[in-house]
């Protein structure tokens, strides 16, 4: 427990760095921020007034302090286009993005880990070659393009999927919100009809993300399984006559998962980025498409809020990965 707290404290400098960078990004906006906020028809007086009200006439450290104070109050500024506080919009849209990313990740892990394990156990076999092709081809896929391909095949050609327009089709109504995850909330309400509708909507975007995340996970699973299978303690386990499944699953896989879990950090970095593109392709109402809309409209507060949210999420995810590692590896648990 103390170790977990220490790790949390250890994340503070990283979080500070993230906040600082985000702040700096807001201050290097092209041109004069106040002029921009005032709009094209503003008089010099109103620009000066806005500058004062935004605190842009103060020295940078003081501006940073005020930025921190605002953040402490959860204030991420207002969106110019929607007139809503950025925080409200992000909080409303976050579950959609989180549900999509998690579904994509789970799908990828569910396919990639068994694939990597089989490839390592049957080295040189057909499945091994398949795994290597997937690992090389997968990292080359532009997600926005594979997403479109899937839409073309499964929506236009085969007609199996609903139109790629968000989380639910027009005829279904959103479930009562508990977690914000439609797949969970519909089950919670016992509404299987809507659950099926939500699942039908999410399967293509989640599949697109999974295709993308599959490659690094399969690659590292295969490599780390191969390394572990060649290690001395596996030889001991075999020499002790332990059964094949015990050797592969209890002895080899648990050890092989350590590097896999570590690599998940990198996979998340890619996934959170890919998520933005996939949300655009599938008109997914998450924080990614919110940021894109704002970007196009040169509405900067939402973009900065989005970048900060993503970065904080990513720091927290890395923290979670550390804790999972700790749960698997006694050396990390007890070691200094």
């Amino acid at each position: 427990m103390r170790a977990i707290l220490l790790r949390l404290v250890g994340a503070i400098p990283t979080l500070f760095g993230v906040v600082l960078v985000t702040f700096l990004l807001t201050r290097v906006l092209p041109g004069d921020t106040a002029t921009y906020f005032a709009g094209p028809t503003a008089s010099p007086e109103s620009i000066a007034q806005i500058r004062t009200s935004l605190g842009l006439d103060r020295p940078l450290p003081e501006q940073f302090w005020r930025y921190l104070v605002d953040l402490g109050h959860g204030d991420l500024g207002m969106s110019l286009t929607t007139g809503q506080p950025v925080k409200t919009e992000l909080v409303n849209r976050l579950p959609a993005s989180a549900e999509l990313t998690l579904c994509g990740l789970l799908l990828a892990i569910g396919i990639a880990v068994p694939l990597g394990v089989l490839a390592a156990v049957r080295q040189g076999s057909l499945i091994d070659h398949a795994c290597r092709v997937v690992a090389t081809a997968g990292v080359s896929l532009p997600v926005f393009f594979t997403g479109l391909l899937l839409v073309y095949v499964f929506y236009f050609l085969l007609g199996w999927s609903p139109a790629p327009l968000g989380r639910l089709d027009a005829f279904a109504s959103a479930p009562k919100q508990h977690t914000g995850f439609y797949l969970v909330d519909t089950l919670w309400a016992g509404d299987f009809e809507t659950f099926r509708a939500a699942a039908a909507q999410i399967i293509l975007p989640a599949g697109t993300l999974a295709l993308f995340a599959l490659a690094p996970i399969a690659r590292i699973t295969r490599a780390s399984m191969l390394a572990v299978l060649g290690s001395e303690f596996i030889r001991t386990a075999r020499a002790s006559g332990l059964s094949g499944p015990t050797v592969v699953l209890t002895y080899a896989l648990r050890n092989a998962l350590l590097p896999v879990v570590t690599v998940l950090g990198m996979v998340f970095s890619f996934l959170l980025g890919a998520n933005v593109l996939v949300e655009k392709v599938f008109a997914w109402p998450g924080i990614g498409s919110y940021a894109i809309e704002a970007l196009i409209a040169s509405d900067y507060a939402p973009v900065q809020g989005f970048v900060l949210t993503m970065a904080v999420l990513y720091v927290l995810l890395n923290l979670a990965i550390d804790l999972v590692n700790r749960a698997i590896d006694p050396r990390a648990r007890r070691g200094a």
Binding site: F233, T236, A239, S240, G241, L242, G244, T246, T250, P330
Partner: protein, 321 residues
């Protein structure tokens, strides 16, 4: 005397990028119940490969290309080894800490083997693992059972390995350099423990070592290996007193003894031959040998010089008077 293990003409080849390595060539020896035999040789001489071939643990590139290995009435090269490994033949390794699963408590690792072979149930495996730890002399076994390998000393880890190996009362224990990397006092303790376990259960032991002095101290019989051949096999006293193969004699001269001075030590000249070549000579020691004759390039046969004393040499040393 009925043999626990009989190995005859065992040959093993490895298929590598650089060609086929004939790692073992017609290796043979046998071992009686309760007996301790040492396999001695330089690294790369094929001691460990012999053990792995018997256990069916050769890596994918290795193949048994000929010969036989019998454990009692069981043909080891044909049998389903998953029912034999750990139950009738067990093995311990050098570098015990790496030979144990780093993220599984040692008690659980012993329990895994007990459940597989020792008839232990999920409920009593834990308790029996603690008993096994006590039997190999680990103090406070109930607490140590929950420890991970990285929390134990090398000597402790080797005790755990021994507990795993003897869990199912095997007929044969193969100890592959069991004391390499341990400090000197621990080495003696570990060897004492192996011999005590062997004496108690009547299991035979193959001690694989590069250390002739250790073999002389612990084994009743010694088989000397060189480049995939067993060059000489005899009971320990005979082999040390009357080595007949030039390589054995060199090896003895290269081994420090309590009585001799360091100045008397001689290294064995030359290195192991390249076993990938098709023209590897019949006697693989020939290139290093000062007693080489023209007839050494002919077929190499194993000669019995006395009951239980074989040598693979065309021009053996004279027996000392």
């Amino acid at each position: 005397m009925s043999a626990v293990l009989r190995v005859q003409d065992l040959s093993v080849a490895f298929h590598t990028r650089g060609g086929v390595v004939r790692a073992l060539d017609r290796v043979g020896f046998s071992l009686g119940a309760g007996e301790t035999m040492a396999l001695v040789g330089e690294s790369g001489s094929g001691k460990s490969v012999t053990a792995y071939a018997i256990m069916g643990l050769l890596e994918a590139a290795g193949r048994v290309t000929g010969g036989q290995a019998w454990l009692g009435e069981t043909d080891l090269l044909a049998a389903d080894l998953s029912r034999i490994r750990g139950r009738r033949v067990a093995m311990i390794f050098q570098n015990p800490r790496a030979a144990l699963n780093p993220i599984r408590a040692v008690g659980a690792q012993i329990a895994d083997v007990l459940r597989r072979h020792g008839g232990a149930s999920r409920f009593n495996a834990g308790a029996r693992a603690i008993e096994a730890l006590r039997a190999v002399g680990i103090p406070d076994p109930a607490r140590r059972a929950k420890a991970y390998p990285f929390e134990l000393s090398g000597g402790m880890c080797q005790r755990v390995m021994i507990a795993i190996a003897v869990a199912a009362n095997p007929e044969l224990l193969i100890a592959d350099e069991p004391t390499t990397g341990l400090d000197v006092t621990t080495q003696a303790v570990v060897m004492d423990l192996i011999q005590a376990m062997a004496a108690r259960t009547g299991m035979a032991t193959i001690l694989i070592t590069h250390d002739l002095a250790l073999a002389a101290e612990r084994a009743q019989r010694i088989a000397v290996m060189h480049a995939g051949h067993v060059v000489e096999e005899a009971d320990t006293a005979t082999l040390l007193a009357q080595p007949r193969h030039p390589y054995t004699a060199r090896l003895i001269a290269a081994t420090p003894t309590a009585a001799g001075s360091l100045d008397d030590l001689q290294s064995v000249p030359g290195g192991l031959p390249d076993l990938r070549r098709d023209d590897t000579p019949p006697c693989r020691y020939a290139a290093r040998c000062e007693r080489r004759l023209a007839s050494c390039d002919g077929a190499l046969s194993v000669r019995a010089l006395a009951p239980g004393h074989q040598v693979a040499c065309t021009n053996p040393l004279e027996a000392a008077a």
